[in-house]
């Protein structure tokens, strides 16, 4: 009755094996669910704004609310000139949000529980930050790493700032990945308790209701985490973009 809680994160090949320049580029369940996520997001917004009315329908108002939600997030974190990056932040937020929620459906694969996906998104975000910073400030972007301080402490702070900038690469990707991994593993572990107790005999069988209730609560918590992690990823993206746009945080 041993169930491996990590089995749900395994990547299987769907269809024929494909090789390109020495890399395995076969279509996997990972790619399938990424396609589903992109299709769902596109469908949601295409249907939501296809026939706009003055008094919005439920779907249309959901699309409008999510637009305003992301726009307000960017405005409060990166100022009005951060709105140039609205499509970028919006796509990242909804890709992560939909893949987190799709992963909560039993049997579905969680795209964001793979470190390579979250790491690629992080590289995209921080790459954008660096490119935007150098494009806007030129070599002056490096002043981001030099805080205002007396000369005898500044050299130490520069080292700390550089390390903290580089560690964002790890923290931003691992945060999302670990949250998804931990939540789904926990659900699976409680599910294995239910199966073990159910198979244990007539006396222990009613006890299986306890881990089942626990699955319910953990599932509810996971819904919160699924939203919160997408939100945090998007907010941190805005904060990093704000630093690239206004070097030492003088927006408003």
């Amino acid at each position: 009755m041993a169930i491996n809680p990590m089995e749900q994160f395994e990547i299987h090949r769907i269809g024929p094996p494909l090789h390109l320049f020495g890399y395995d580029v076969s279509f996997t369940n990972q790619s399938l669910f990424m396609c589903i996520v992109v299709a769902l997001v596109t469908l949601f917004f295409a249907l939501g704004v296809s026939r706009p009315k003055l008094v919005p329908s439920r779907l249309q108002s959901m699309a409008e609310v999510s637009y305003e939600f992301v726009a307000n997030m960017i405005k409060s974190a990166a100022g009005n000139d951060g709105l140039v990056f609205f499509p970028f932040v919006f796509s990242i937020f909804f890709f992560i949000l939909f893949s987190n929620f799709l992963g909560l459906i039993p049997g579905a694969f969680t795209v964001t529980s793979q470190i390579i996906v979250t790491f690629s998104l992080t590289v995209l975000v921080l790459g954008t930050v660096v490119v935007v910073g150098f494009a806007k400030h030129g070599i002056g972007f490096l002043m981001l790493f030099v805080p205002k301080a007396p000369w005898y402490i500044v050299w130490l702070l520069v080292i700390i700032e550089v390390i903290s900038f580089l560690s964002r690469l790890v923290s931003l990707s691992v945060r999302l990945f670990a949250n998804m991994l931990a939540g789904h593993t926990m659900l699976q572990v409680f599910a294995s308790f239910v199966i073990a107790l159910g198979a244990a005999g007539a006396i222990l069988k009613p006890l299986a209701i306890a881990p089942m209730l626990m699955i319910l609560f953990v599932g509810a918590l996971e819904m919160l985490v699924a939203f919160l992690q997408a939100y945090v990823f998007a907010v941190l993206t805005c904060i990093y973009l704000n630093e690239a746009l206004h070097l030492h945080g003088e927006h408003h």
Partner: protein, 74 residues
Amino acid sequence: MELQAAKMIGAGLACIALAGAGNGIGIVFGNYLSGALRNPAAASSQTTNLLLGFALCEATGLYGLVIALIILFT
């Protein structure tokens, strides 16, 4: 077999990270509540910071989990 046992102990020790995460989440929500009860009008404007703080705290505990997994599966 000895290495396997040491790995198990190491993974268990990595769970100590949860103590810090628990402390942090308690501090985040506790301080938010005490601030919000003193000045309820300003409370709703700070929910962004509350959620951000909660998520950042929670993530530190999960780094422990990642380290435990790395220890167990390498």
